[in-house]
């Protein structure tokens, strides 16, 4: 219980411990703590940024999707319209072709009819003249009564 040299030894060892702590113990630990604090702050900020980024990305994707849907719908509508048009065109073409064929056939018939009629007329005229020749014998001159015979033939 006496105050003795121990006092000085205590003072010196205390000072040495404090110096050592100050030199080698405190700074690295406190630096690490501060560094971690910075890291956490940065991490939180990055997380927040990521969050916003994702929300923006989602929005963007949504917009793209809507646009794509609209485009697709438009394309489908156009395709349907075009298909209808093609069908209509085909129908028109077919109708026109049919008409033309009918017309050609009718023209052919007409022509055949006319030709037959012409032939018939000539034959009838020749027949009438031959008959008249036979009836009248020489009384009727072919050249003199030609116009009369023609008129008759035309009335057939």
């Amino acid at each position: 219980m006496n105050i003795n040299l121990t006092l000085l030894i205590q003072m010196i060892s205390f000072a040495v411990f404090v110096w050592f702590c100050m030199q080698y113990v405190w700074p690295p630990i406190v630096t690490a703590l501060a560094e971690r604090k910075t890291k956490i702050t940065e991490g939180l900020a990055a997380a927040e940024r990521g969050h916003q980024e994702r929300a923006r990305g989602e929005q963007h994707a949504q917009a793209l999707l809507t646009e794509a849907k609209a485009t697709a719908a438009e394309i489908v509508t156009q395709a349907q319209k075009r298909a209808t048009e093609i069908v209509e065109e085909a129908k028109d073409d077919a109708r026109a072709e049919g008409g033309r064929l009918v017309a050609a056939a009718q023209a052919e018939i007409e022509r055949e009819t006319n030709r037959a009629r012409e032939e018939l007329r000539e034959r009838v005229a020749a027949l009438a003249i031959a008959a008249a020749e036979k009836i009248l014998h020489k009384e009727i001159d072919v050249d003199t009564h030609r116009s009369l015979v023609d008129t008759f033939a035309k009335q057939l």
Partner: protein, 289 residues
């Protein structure tokens, strides 16, 4: 305790309160003191070997453990020992930031050293009061010494040398920073020109001088007194042993209860020593007027 002398209560207490002192006795020459009277006769130039041994051992333990963590410290995910060390460092740093307003890179490590070291020294109080002294006595007896004259106090903070040593170092730091921050004139002015102005100079000097000197004194005596009293109660309870079985059990229970309560005291005393040191140094750094 096997001893040729009859063991009395007074002798037992006396034995526990005597340091293992090494010094030069005026009559017996250089050697360990065989009684407290011997130790007193050695005067100032003697060393309490037990106090120095345990305090340096515990301080070394603190530095070794914290240094080990500081070398491998990572800003990433801390593990095991680093968690523990960071918890203490955080606690000390909070206290320093709360009480110390100036800038000084020394104060926080100082506070940490005080807290950890004083806590470890106080913690020795929780070891069974006879354990180390008895083992040491038996160990010395191997070399032929009488265990009854071999002393060992395992709690350095029950030795006023230890507490005054720390308090005086803190006191010198207070003086150093007072002069450094305010200059010699500023410091002397603080001592003499307030609170009554320059015409109340003697009264000022008396008041301020007492308040200045009371800082290391209260610091040292508070810690010493608390630990000494706590140790004394352990010793007194230990006197119950060796009687009847009832006394033994009662003594054991009392030891346990007091030890549990003492956990609070040893932590609190370490904390108070640290906080007061921070506050004193803060006052040294501040211009008051």
């Amino acid at each position: 305790m096997s001893s040729s002398e009859i063991l009395t209560s007074q002798g037992y207490i006396q034995h526990h309160l005597t340091n293992l002192t090494l010094g030069v006795h005026p009559e017996h020459g250089f050697g360990f003191a065989h009684s407290s009277a011997d130790a007193a006769a050695m005067g100032f130039w003697a060393v309490n070997v037990d106090t120095v041994f345990f305090s340096v051992l515990l301080g070394g333990l603190f530095i070794w453990f914290f240094k080990g963590v500081a070398e491998k410290v990572t800003a990433g995910i801390p593990a095991g020992a680093q968690n523990f060390v960071e918890w203490i460092v955080d606690f000390v740093e909070d206290n320093v930031r709360g009480s110390f307003n100036a800038k000084n890179a020394m104060v926080a490590p100082l506070a940490l050293t005080i807290f950890a070291w004083v806590f470890l020294m106080n913690l020795m109080d929780l070891l069974p009061v006879d354990l180390l002294p008895y083992l040491f006595g038996q160990f010395i007896a191997v070399f032929g010494a009488d265990p009854h004259h071999v002393f060992l106090r395992v709690v350095p903070t029950t030795d006023p040398n230890a507490t005054f040593g720390m308090a005086l170092t803190v006191f010198f730091l207070v003086l150093f920073y007072s002069v450094k921050m305010k200059g010699v004139g500023g410091f002397l002015g603080e001592l003499t020109l307030q609170p009554f102005g320059k015409f109340g100079l003697p009264a000022n000097l008396l008041l301020e001088g007492i308040s200045l000197l009371s800082k290391p004194l209260s610091l040292a005596l508070r810690l010493f007194g608390n630990m000494y009293a706590g140790e004394m109660i352990f010793i007194l309870i230990a006197l119950l042993y060796g009687g009847s079985m009832t006394l033994n059990i009662t003594g054991g229970l009392l030891q346990f209860v007091w030890a549990v309560f003492h956990i609070l005291i040893i932590t609190l005393q370490a904390f108070i020593f640290m906080v007061l040191t921070i506050v004193y140094l803060d006052m040294a750094h501040q211009e008051h007027h």
